[in-house]
Symmetry: C3
Subunit: 308 residues, 3 copies
């Protein structure tokens, strides 16, 4: 099987085989990043536009580094500060970028479906770098890549995702990706942070983190986005840490080889303790490293698809 | 004739022959942007600084893409957020950029004459990317390039420019360029948006858009800058659309081959209807594409002039 | 002797021989910037991250140009606008950048010791681009490089630094560098702007600028940072210019060959008159030019040190 899609909008739309192609291509790019000269000419002469309607230094920088290691030219548009102030619609902005003969748009937007809408209107490739509470496929791919690297497989593993599931595109993309590859997923949060009918996505639900951890090969700890929603709408911070925070005591009560993941940036002492974040089971920085390889793979395959 | 100028400050200063050189060079660069690898080494090792005192993602991105396709290194300075906060004068900023051994400054400034002042004080090339209400020469060049591409010529054509003529550098540069190349220009707006004595620039004036369209081969629809001036100072939006908005009905009453241009970003339903903006006569996205070729030509010729 | 350090945190930590290596390497890179193609492949495939927690277009641009002339890939992070809003600690940000397999971080931070702290936690190179009131080593190196270029030596020269010594990282780094290389340093300011016990750094102190100038081969005029501290906390502007401002009259009363330096951006009529800033003795723009060569040398040596 060969990669055919011109866009990467989410993991929900992908077949198991497509996810595997992405992960295998990422593995071959990971080797590149260990070289003395960490650059390949694969996308020389291509123009990649990072179109970010939400601030996200981490994701933007990761895509920018990935694109530059492929020798592409990168244009950053921080749409929050830009001509979008002048009320140009997202579609018009996309069409203008296409008219510049850019090859690919990486888009981050606060509205679910933004990337999909762009992709319907454009011939050039669109990569979803996070759309509202919907999907963040490259984050889930790098989570899965890192877990597979650590455990040698995904099939048959059990992964707990803990945190604000209801408002997390990371959770959603992980659920699609992990279940397609044959993992079991447990979501764990206070009930107000669990979306209705999430069981239909094929996951188990609990509000008991210790029980969840005891069954899990890995835990993906979501950032509590206190800056996005008012803290008053949430269980109090301390209370959250007491009931759901991943600390050393919890880890030690459970499977000793449990893999600790976090999409970052971490809130030390809120959803995770420093001891765990910096501990032996943590792969949080491996996730960042693998993010480059995964995004190189995505940019490379998407660009190639257009040319056939 | 060969290009000699070290700067591009406006179309008013250019001879007809110079405009033709720019357009012909743009035509040869347009071919580059259709290649698989859209990049030429013409400006390798050159440093181009985009110095923007006004936010303008569109123009900045267009210049940045153009420079990168010529293999130049590009430095973006968003002066609105920068050390210019520290009250450094424009001249001092320019001299500092020159001292970095940059080769060329692309400057956007809210004061008319800013680019010209820089050019008097610097030995390196200066390209005006818009100065107050004065000129925006690369925008006019890409408008003219696109019109010539569509109609096969400029000489003998009649072009209506509709909108806020008084506060439009785009209008001013188009008038200089089109009249030098032998086109007739009609400006159309409510009288309060027509500058005094504009007839001296060699244009006809009307406030009747239908009459103007009936005589025109093309119409260049200016953006109504409601974000810049208070709406209360203007004819009301709806009223504007009724009296001056370019809609399908107006287009159909007139010359069927009329070319529809707009410098963007478009305000759908304010100065132009969606039907017209996305219709067969519209070359709005061609303008964006041609903007790259025109700016490649400008950067290339200006850089070359310095070396002789 | 060969360069061994993986970081450049300040001039206080450097041996005289190390400063000389930096200056000699800068001299060889200065030649590059006079070529037609001002670019060398020395750092091709390397990734340099500019991590700026304070706005500083001048320093950021200088490092960016230097890195690009070495063919490195550059990633700019304006941390003031970025995910650092999300309260990620400086160390976590640094570790994430390291995990991207970046090769070097250039960091500007408002806290003294920020660069040193990063360097203790990271294996990749760290260059201090200014940390609080502590050090700004590349600025001092370019000042010293420029002075040596003009005078043929540093040893035996006398240099006055005038301005807000107490809050100046530029002053501090210059004092360390100049005294190590055998120059005499006089600091001159109203007493409230002189830090306690500064004599221990091996400098003389005066509040009489004319007396200081009469003994000096060069004067380094610090910017009065009126935007940082309230003007009311300072001697009044006019008063400052009268008592400490470097004007033509003062220069003429003294050594005719005195070298005038300023780290920029200059406040014309506040700490320096236009006549002096633009006069024959001024090397202010040479400093900017030499800043590129000095920063190329720093990036090159730091990158090389890591590979051994």
């Amino acid at each position: 099987m060969k990669w055919q899609k011109k866009d990467l909008l989410g993991l929900r739309d992908l077949k198991k085989e497509e996810i595997k192609i992405l992960l295998e291509t990422a593995a071959s790019f990971k080797e590149v990043t260990t070289r003395q000269i960490k650059k390949v000419p694969a996308l020389r002469g291509k123009t990649i536009v990072n179109l970010f309607y939400e601030p996200s230094t981490r994701t933007r920088v990761s895509f920018e580094v990935a694109a530059k290691r492929l020798s592409a030219d990168v244009i950053n548009i921080a749409a929050e500060y830009s001509s979008v102030r002048k009320n140009e619609t997202l579609n018009d902005t996309g069409r203008n970028i296409e008219a510049l003969k850019a090859d690919l748009i990486v888009v981050r937007h606060n509205a679910a479906g933004a990337a999909a809408m762009l992709s319907r209107h454009l011939n050039i490739g669109v990569v979803n770098a996070g759309d509202g509470w919907h999907e963040h496929p490259t984050q889930a791919l790098l989570d899965i890549f890192t877990l597979a690297e650590k455990k040698g497989k995904i099939e048959g593993l059990t992964v707990t995702i803990v945190g604000d599931i209801a408002h997390s595109r990371v959770a959603r993309s992980n659920i699609w990706g992990l279940t397609k590859l044959g993992a079991k997923v447990i979501v764990c949060a206070p009930s107000m942070l669990i979306p209705n009918k999430i069981e239909k996505m094929g996951v188990s639900v609990t509000s008991n983190i210790d029980k969840a951890l005891s069954k899990s090969d890995a835990v993906n700890v979501l950032r509590m986005q206190f800056e996005r929603d008012q803290i008053s709408a949430f269980p109090k911070r301390l209370n959250y840490f007491k009931n759901y925070g991943i600390n050393q005591e919890r880890i030690e009560k459970t499977n000793k080889d449990i893999v600790i993941m976090h999409p970052g940036p971490i809130n030390r002492g809120i959803e995770i303790s420093s001891e765990v974040a910096d501990g032996l089971n943590s792969v949080i920085l491996d996730q960042v490293t693998n993010g480059i390889a995964v995004r190189m793979a995505v940019l490379y395959l998407i660009s190639g698809a257009r040319e056939k």
